[in-house]
Structure formats: C-alpha cells, structure tokens
C-alpha cells in the first residue's frame, strides 16, 4: 500500500504561487493521486485528482512526473482564504484501503 509524505507546514503571502509536494514511492500502477483541502470544523473538500502528467482545473494544477513517485499541488496566486490543511491521497484502483497523508498546514499571510 502506497504511503504518502508531505511537509507538515508551509507559509506564503497573498498573491504568491504555492507548490506542495507529496512523496508516494510505493504507488501502484492503478493508483490515482488526489488532493483535498480542509478548513477548521469542516470536512475535507476535493481539489484535484490525476493519474499522470498534468491536470488543471479552476482552482489548482497537479503535476505528476513520469515515475509517479511524487506529485506537486500548485495553487496560483493564493489568498488569505486558502489558509487550510491540504491532504495528499493515493487512491488504489480497487476496493482497498484508502490512505491520507498527514496533511500540510498552509498559512497565507497578508
């Protein structure tokens, strides 16, 4: 089962681009990589998901190198409201256990 490792915390300033990297050395062929965002006193919320190369939506981009042993969530031009915990999840292709990383606490400063 693939486990994930991500930085415990990061700091940034409004308007900057933030990149959070997740390591998943044991990722399997069928696994997807998913990122969630969580605000205090709320459940996590889906941000983006990918299998390989690059995925972009209105909120973020996800970069996955060819070996898929890591992935990087990119948040363009962050604002104060992006202050949250970000979780990297490796999602197996079958009915297997789902694994969340410990999360990265992002603090965006004025």
């Amino acid at each position: 089962l693939a486990k994930t490792t991500q930085p415990i915390s990061m700091d940034s300033y409004e308007g900057q681009e933030v990149n959070i990297t997740c390591s998943h050395n044991n990722i399997a062929t069928n696994d997807y990589i998913t990122w969630y965002q969580q605000f205090p006193s709320q459940g996590p919320r889906f941000i983006i998901q990918g299998y390989k190369t690059k995925v972009t939506n209105e909120v973020a981009s996800l970069f996955i190198p060819a070996d898929r042993k890591s992935s990087t969530l990119s948040l363009p031009r962050v604002s104060l409201s992006d202050t949250a915990v970000y979780y990297c999840l490796v999602e197996p292709g079958g009915y297997n256990k789902l694994i969340f990383g410990a999360g990265t606490r992002l603090a965006v400063h004025p």
Partner: protein, 114 residues
C-alpha cells in the same frame, strides 16, 4: 449538490456506553466511509462500505463496528466507548471506487468520551 449529513456535530458520552454515529447521503452513492481525525495523524480510515450490507475494514477498525442496512445510511458503532476514542469522526461517500472518484465529506462529529 451532494449532501452528506451526520447526526450530531458534538457528542459527549461516558466510558462504556454504546455510541451510534449516523451518516446519511442523498446522492445514491454506492460507497460510504468512516474516518477519524486526530491532531498530527490526519485522517485514518475505520471502515468503508461498497454496497448495502457490505463492509470492509480500514486501517483502524478495532473497537468499532458498522452497519449499512440502506444505501443512503452508514452507521458507526462504538460498542463500549473508551477515552481513546475521543476524536473527530468524519463520514464520506463516493459514487465509485477504483476510477478516481471524488469523496464527499460530512461536517464531522466531535465525540468526547469521559
């Protein structure tokens, strides 16, 4: 919008009590999940269910059981609550597994066992 609701936001129980946490989703999703969340440990999967009456153990099933009698409802049961089960409990649902399906989370139940 998908809605996942949990029966209580806050719950206080005594050691040894039987505790039921209820979760309901309104989008006809096949799969439902129970997680607990503790500081520094992130989310850990307790149980999940991929169909009515079907269940699979997650990473930390000890001390918990689940019930899924109807598709929209997934219950987490603490047979005899203990203080180390004080935690935030999160329920989620998803339309499918294995194809990169998004999970939709409820607001959570903060359980305190005294």
């Amino acid at each position: 919008d998908v809605k996942v609701t949990q029966s209580s936001r806050y719950l206080v129980k005594r050691t040894g009590e039987k505790v039921f946490l209820e979760c309901v989703q309104d989008m006809d999703h096949e799969n439902m999940f129970w997680y607990r969340q503790d500081p520094g440990l992130g989310l850990r999967l307790i149980y999940f269910s991929y169909d009515v009456k079907m269940k699979e153990k997650g990473d930390i099933p000890e001390g918990y059981s689940v019930s899924r009698e109807k598709k929209e409802r997934f219950s987490l049961i603490l047979e005899s609550a203990s203080t180390n089960q004080t935690s935030m409990y999160l329920c989620a649902s998803s339309p499918y597994l294995g194809q990169g399906g998004e999970q939709y989370f409820g607001p959570g139940t903060r359980l305190t066992v005294t």
